[in-house]
Symmetry: D3
Subunit: 241 residues, 6 copies
């Protein structure tokens, strides 16, 4: 039994508040238990230098934590004048994942910025960010369709992410901070609705891990992601198809 009473293959309570922000083209507050991330999608009529003049679009992501989202206050990155390596790693992961969710070539010369700001952290912030960003992105695309900026939503796949790990020798789904900090292995898995993988990042924290352990964790991840995609489908009901 896990300290919060969950089974090994159980997600925490997932709550999504769509359109949380008044000004953003798309947004949601997503909660994986006590982890709360505010995701917004902003449309910018500019593309990065390497895409200029090609008529194609781009999707990019930035990630941040408010200083007291954590147990101990983390220094504000704007004060230090630079982001940590961890922040860079996470925002690159979110950006790559979201470029699998929609056809960026069909956006016109526009960038959609996905901002993920962690309000409260209790493990799994990058997975919550990806799962919530997908919703914010689709809401923004739907708004662009309604506003006649796009003819159709250039949808490719539902995308969700979940963490899995080996804790006390056992595979577990959706680790809380307490579990994550004692896990032997830690995976972040991003999948599409076709049960295919978008990103897999697995790290041994104590000892190298076996192929069998990996297989067990990926089975759990698939199960969790199916549930998350159902939640996404519920929220986006009329939007996609």
């Amino acid at each position: 039994m896990r300290s919060d009473g969950r089974l090994f293959n159980e997600l925490r309570k997932i709550t999504v508040t769509p359109n949380y922000l008044k000004h953003a083209e798309g947004s949601c507050l997503i909660e994986f238990g006590d982890t709360k991330v505010l995701c917004s999608a902003s449309v910018d009529n500019v593309v990065p230098q390497f895409l200029k003049g090609q008529g194609k679009g781009w999707v990019s992501s930035e990630y941040g934590m408010i200083p007291r989202s954590c147990l101990v206050r983390v220094p504000r990155e704007a004060t230090k004048g630079q982001k940590t390596g961890r922040t860079h790693e996470i925002q690159r992961l979110i950006g790559r994942s979201m470029r699998m969710a929609c056809d960026v070539d069909a956006l016109g010369e526009r960038t959609i910025w996905l901002d993920c700001d962690v309000i409260q952290a209790d493990g799994g912030t990058r997975c919550a960010s990806i799962t919530g960003s997908f919703i914010a992105l689709m809401l923004a695309l739907e708004k662009m369709r309604k506003d006649k900026i796009l003819k159709t939503i250039p949808f490719k796949s539902f995308i969700s992410a979940v963490s899995v790990g080996m804790v006390d020798g056992e595979p577990r789904l959706d680790l809380s901070y307490e579990e994550d900090s004692k896990a032997e292995v830690d995976f972040n898995v991003v999948m599409s609705d076709a049960k295919k993988f978008v990103e897999i990042q697995g790290t041994s924290e104590a000892e190298p891990f076996s192929r069998q352990d990996m297989d067990a964790m990926l089975d759990l991840a698939r199960r969790g992601i199916e549930e998350l995609i159902k939640i996404q489908e519920g929220i986006l009901g009329g939007v996609i198809k």
Copy 2:
């Protein structure tokens, strides 16, 4: 009549959710209409260099906006590697104001960090930040008292802040973004419960303003601040005295 139906001397709907954050020693989400600011107070057992070894404490503040708090996405300061002048100006104002709320000398060698993160902006973010920071600060001091870190709460004054301005030649209380952007004069007023001033910052946006206009605006500000302090008293009920 104002565009949102308020009288010239009326505040927007003020909502405070105390203890909004699980990890912070003190926190609240404060809303002035559509303006939403997350305020947290974090206790750090270190003081700035200039206070080392004197047994005294410090209160400091940092301010930030999540990128899509605004109508148009504002670039993330952590990405640019530096804060704007506006951010510096605001966080200095919050810090000075909060050092009037409590006796920093009585904190021991500790810094209390007040982080104000704007989730949604619709005018008056710095005043909401000050009013909310006061609550977060008092909740943190109360926690320190309960945890026997402090014998008593080193309370000095209730502190609240409100914006006032001249719009269409008329003094108005608590400007929304729409009003603020067309105001002829813009004041941010920070006051204590003794109806005394802590900070006054008045700026002419179009034309220099007269002493009479200033007097009218300060009268409105006092009225608004009396209401805000009543709200603070309601929330902090048992805490102070």
Copy 3:
């Protein structure tokens, strides 16, 4: 009696050396007692991004202190790689004030940079900067008129600034560093020739202050600013009107 022998309502000796710099379009060295600030106005044929293509101009300001302008050497901001919050606060104040001195829309697509470099600091550097910048700005505009870049000087108001404060319970005009560092309240007041206010920034240093104290300080400020504007008029004699 004040430590330098002045009455409570007396300015320090004000000295202005116009055209102090050979290369600048306009400049002066301004001294408020031992406070010495070098102010220059430079014309740049470029405007900030947000004004491009509108045919309008801009006035902006930057402020700095040479490292040994102060009692103790202050670290060079270029070495630290960033400006302090205080510097940001001051240069924003100067910029806003100067945009009340002239009609920026009538400048054409040009920026006038007002650089204020503190050579020696003894209190009141931001007020000396504003008072001196006004002179540098008008000298530059006059040069532009003579050079046929402008048909007329787009003059709006004389602008001067002075500090006032409560020291030992008494209102005083134009605080020296010694007075400033023990003041209970500190005001920086920027006014126009029409006895109207451009900016008011008042800060309680020890205790919140009353409306009566504020009124007494603003009366003193008005008196000081009348004298400063007379000095500006003397120097700019033929230039304006």
Copy 4:
């Protein structure tokens, strides 16, 4: 057949020049075909803040590319004043992997810095960096043992890394830049001599990938890593065991 004539399961020519640098405690130049990385291990008698006073050590890594290692000159990160997100991501991966190679707790209060500088890039620089860093690290530990700084080498596992990917629908081992840039899926796999996984990072570049594809790629990776570890064993012959 691959464009360089290799079979799908063949590594490029691997060349290691141990002790390439005169001054470093351990170093090598490692070549995976035309990819050349200079790896050095430097011993520093200081540990990061979070380990001070615990008697334990640390292993950290930094990665860089000389500007003309690539087809097109990449801007020097020291000139831009910051590292790219890609650099952060890679150096974090190398550091984590190397902390699986040796018991950092047994190093005493010392940090071993592993610097990986890419001299020429043709795909797989992060995998070459990990494989080469392991050799540099072991040479440095052996030197510390000979110098009586350590009694024994705190060896945990051989660690090597290789890239695998799906190119033209086929799994391939050790992608060159040309293959990498058209791969549908790209994996970086770090393994130990016990055929266990240290890190897995898989990214879909065009389409999400299936579990079968992943299995095929991981089989290839294991095969490649066995060869790489044999090369490491050949070089480190007498050192370990």
Copy 5:
């Protein structure tokens, strides 16, 4: 004949105002014609990391230009967040030269900071900075001696600097900006009172130069430096020896 009427071997008018700054331990305003540099010496009771605990001192220099010291406004380095390469080059030259003027080992664990701020630039600012810094340094050492911080002034040599160059095929002393910008060769020469060299930096601007040209320029430099040292001796009269 030169455009300002000087002979080829003539210095511009040299003016030194010692003790120009109220707060600095030593200072002067030095003018080489229209070039004006404010030099200050500040005593700091701290030494750089590499000297800690050795009982020795250090002399360091920083150089800056106020933005409108030049014909065209130069961007403020504090705004850009970094110094130009030219600034680095110059301040290193000043620092090395001043460490030849006094015995830094005899200063105790103190750093003397020499700040050179160019108020107006018309060629030769680095040479004026060195010549003026020497005076500021000696005035600070004399003050330290009077204040009983030092028993004697740890004087080594008088140090002055001057520029020389080839202009229109002719060697010339102390180039103005106009001459400097068309010079074929440009030398900065730092010498001691023993007619020995401290630093020589010669640069061909158009064509490589011959040994004979160099010899002619160095002869001119020696002559100029003898005059500059006489001026230094006049000002420091009673101080040294």
Copy 6:
């Protein structure tokens, strides 16, 4: 006799490996004894702002050291976020020298970047960088000629550089790190094939130096540079003329 057995007027073993890098337009690895510098020339179809639209080109240089090129690991400049003053000084020297090697006006609107990355440092890295950069530059120009981007190579002069110094009272050619660190005087001399000077930078490390010492050092430098230019001629054989 010198510690490595050389005569006072002898260079260390000079080795040049031209075309060391696969991707660069021109490159070489140059070795002065144990000092190894990788020099590359990259052609970029852009010029600095001040040259835009004039049809002229530019040659610029950047210099870096890999962290463990030195006896003690030097912090990576990309990690610190800025270059040291020494790096700025060196790369400016290389750039100026290379602009004497070719006629930049004849390059078209292109910049040639010369990157000098020190792989191993044992004194004289800036002189090796200049001597190697010249070869990389000429190889790149030859490639541009072959690719019909240039009609002819806009060659001006062979350029080489060598260090000389006074060690134990004796002039010596091409100082190793050991000699450099105890030298009384240290010169870096850049010359052309016409036995003319391009740059002279001489620094007294302990005591000011005499004209005779300088003359002896410059004689040695000329001799060393003649040898270096012969080596350059050997490598570039068919390229120039």
